[in-house]
């Protein structure tokens, strides 16, 4: 029933610790201008603007879509601001797509951003409130115990995380936009880096970045630009509560259900075989093997074997390269990180991924998650309409 829609323009900023050369609006415009140029359209061709970011406390601007309306050429147009925690970049792309897939609009602009350098990410993610019943140990304090449980269950050797950390940084070195440029990183360096939240080392965790990512999504009769469109073949979101008795935290059901939904829409029965590559939200290295299982690329307890075999590595010629752009481990402007995954998947099927292109990629997946690994957003894009 949904109208066919495609990504026809993609724009990203260079990701950096501190983009102190631009205002908040200027940061967004860098991505937006590139996306419009890529789609060969101007603001006049855009019917609606959909913006996403993580908590407003990062920049201390409340509901910043208000202030950003002028910079996004949104005057006289519909605008929507999405916030679904860390998955927001993915959700925003899906909400933007729904503007077109619903038959309501022909062409929409969507953009996500974070200018984390304006404050402190650790502070903004855990602002103090009285009567807090939980000890505050940072994001790693939440995720490291879950990783520990994964390692216990799967019996994975302790260098799996290290291998992911090296692989994604080497991928990132192929991507001139990536924040971390570490072409010569070694496993020993990762092993020797400071243990932050045991078993998570410094080099196994994502950086904190400034950046923005934008896309133009168009209806089938409104395709523009000289590059091939990336057809949206499936979109899905799932949420579950942060904590409930018996919750499967290592392999969350919301992720499994979301994947099953999006695969069914795209006609995928075996993701490892049917997909050519995937951009998966991996902010801590161990989440690669965990998500390989959660998303059905490997059987439960077997995900780490794919990583060790090099199946997810572009450099090793793996059959299912993950995060060819360098992933969240190489660039992490939180509110935009999910959309970067979605956009990078689209770049692959457009054949426009530069030095991190997977040869002949026709079908790719973008993935984002957030909160306590409880909010999921995924899409499948293809070179073919399907």
């Amino acid at each position: 029933m949904a109208e066919r829609a495609a990504v026809v323009g993609i724009g990203q900023t260079r990701y950096k610790t501190r983009r102190n050369d631009v205002s908040i609006a200027g940061l967004l415009r860098e991505a937006v201008d590139r996306a419009l140029e890529d789609a060969d359209v101007s603001f006049a061709d855009i019917d609606a603007v959909i913006i996403g970011k993580a908590p407003d406390m990062f920049e201390g601007v409340i509901m910043p879509e208000s202030y950003l309306a002028d910079a996004l050429g949104a005057m006289g147009k519909p605008m929507l601001r999405v916030h679904t925690a860390g998955s927001v970049g993915g959700s925003t792309a899906i909400v933007a797509a729904s503007h077109v897939q619903s038959g309501t609009f022909k062409r929409v602009l969507t953009v996500t951003f974070e200018k984390q350098s304006e404050s402190n990410a650790m502070w903004a993610l855990s602002t103090p409130q009285p009567f807090s019943v939980h000890l505050n140990a940072g994001a790693g304090g939440y995720f490291a115990p879950i990783i520990r449980e994964y390692i216990r269950r799967s019996g994975a050797p302790d260098d799996v995380g290290i291998k992911v950390a090296v692989k994604d940084r080497r991928h990132g070195a192929r991507n001139p936009l990536a924040h971390l440029q570490l072409p010569d990183i070694t496993e020993q360096e990762v092993r020797d880096s400071m243990m932050l939240w045991d078993p998570l080392r410094f080099l196994e965790a994502c950086p904190s970045s400034d950046g923005a990512c934008a896309m133009v999504i168009a209806a089938e009769d409104s395709i523009t630009g000289s590059k091939p469109p990336a057809w949206i073949r499936g979109v899905a979101m799932r949420s579950e509560p942060t904590m409930y008795a018996g919750r499967e935290e290592v392999n969350p059901q919301a992720g499994r259900d979301c994947a099953a939904d999006v695969y069914a829409q795209a006609g995928i029965t075996n993701p490892r075989r049917d997909l050519d590559c995937a951009e998966i939200y991996v902010p801590f290295s161990w989440y690669e093997p965990m998500w390989l299982e959660n998303l059905g690329f490997a059987a439960e307890g077997e995900g780490w074997k794919l990583t060790l075999e090099g199946a997810t590595s572009l450099d090793a010629g793996g059959d299912i390269p993950w995060n060819c752009s360098g992933g969240v481990l190489s660039s992490n402007p939180i509110g935009a990180s999910g959309m970067i995954r979605f956009a990078e998947a689209a770049r692959q099927v457009r054949g426009d991924a530069g030095a991190h292109q997977v040869d002949g990629a026709r079908l790719a997946m973008g993935h984002a998650y957030g909160g306590g690994a409880q909010f999921f957003a995924m899409w499948i894009v293809g070179a073919d309409k399907g």
Binding site: G60, P128, L135, Y142, W197, D198, A245, G246
Partner: protein
């Protein structure tokens, strides 16, 4: 003559907002019992699981939890991490162990500090007990429990973590 100043490229913008926070009724009931040195959870009328700290609803069923349950201050480590970096606003000096602890009688874990332990020997399934501050220092706060410490009891098999009665393994 002083040197000409460089153009302005950045500003410092203080954004400080004042709030008067009021704890929700379920958390308030929990905190009031905590002030008396008692850990309580709330039972879901639908699925019977016991939640600590209670937040006012069973997140799985979406219904209010009003039936209060007194829990043990003994519990089991569901998982843990050794934190080696300082956290803003957290005065504890690293490295320290933060554990997901399920108190006996509850079906969910909370995060608390683990101490008086050899960090390298902490493990999933390990039994622990709360070390409370002196009663005169108790307030409406989780840090009435200074930390948890290892208990000389056999480990709990993984499949039974989060499923023990208030009497622990004996029950």
């Amino acid at each position: 003559m002083s040197e000409p100043l460089a153009d302005v490229t950045g500003i410092k913008a203080p954004v400080y907002l004042k709030y008067r926070f009021t704890a929700g009724s379920a958390p308030a009931r929990f905190l009031c019992r905590l002030k008396e040195g008692v850990l309580t959870g709330q039972r879901c009328p639908r699925c019977s699981n016991v939640y600590i700290p209670p937040r006012g609803s069973c997140p799985a069923c979406g219904v209010p939890t009003e039936d209060e349950v007194v829990l043990s201050d003994k519990g089991t480590i569901q998982s843990f991490t050794i934190v080696s970096i300082p956290i803003p606003g957290n005065p504890i000096q690293p490295p320290y162990v933060v554990a997901n602890i399920v108190p006996d009688g509850a079906n969910i874990s909370f995060i608390h500090l683990l101490s008086e332990c050899v960090n390298e020997e902490v493990h999933i399934g390990q039994r622990v007990q709360a070390l409370w501050k002196p009663a005169e220092e108790w307030g409406h706060a989780m840090d009435n429990i200074r930390y948890f410490r290892p208990l000389d009891e056999p480990d709990v098999p993984v499949e039974r973590i989060g499923k023990l009665p208030v009497t622990g393994l004996e029950g």
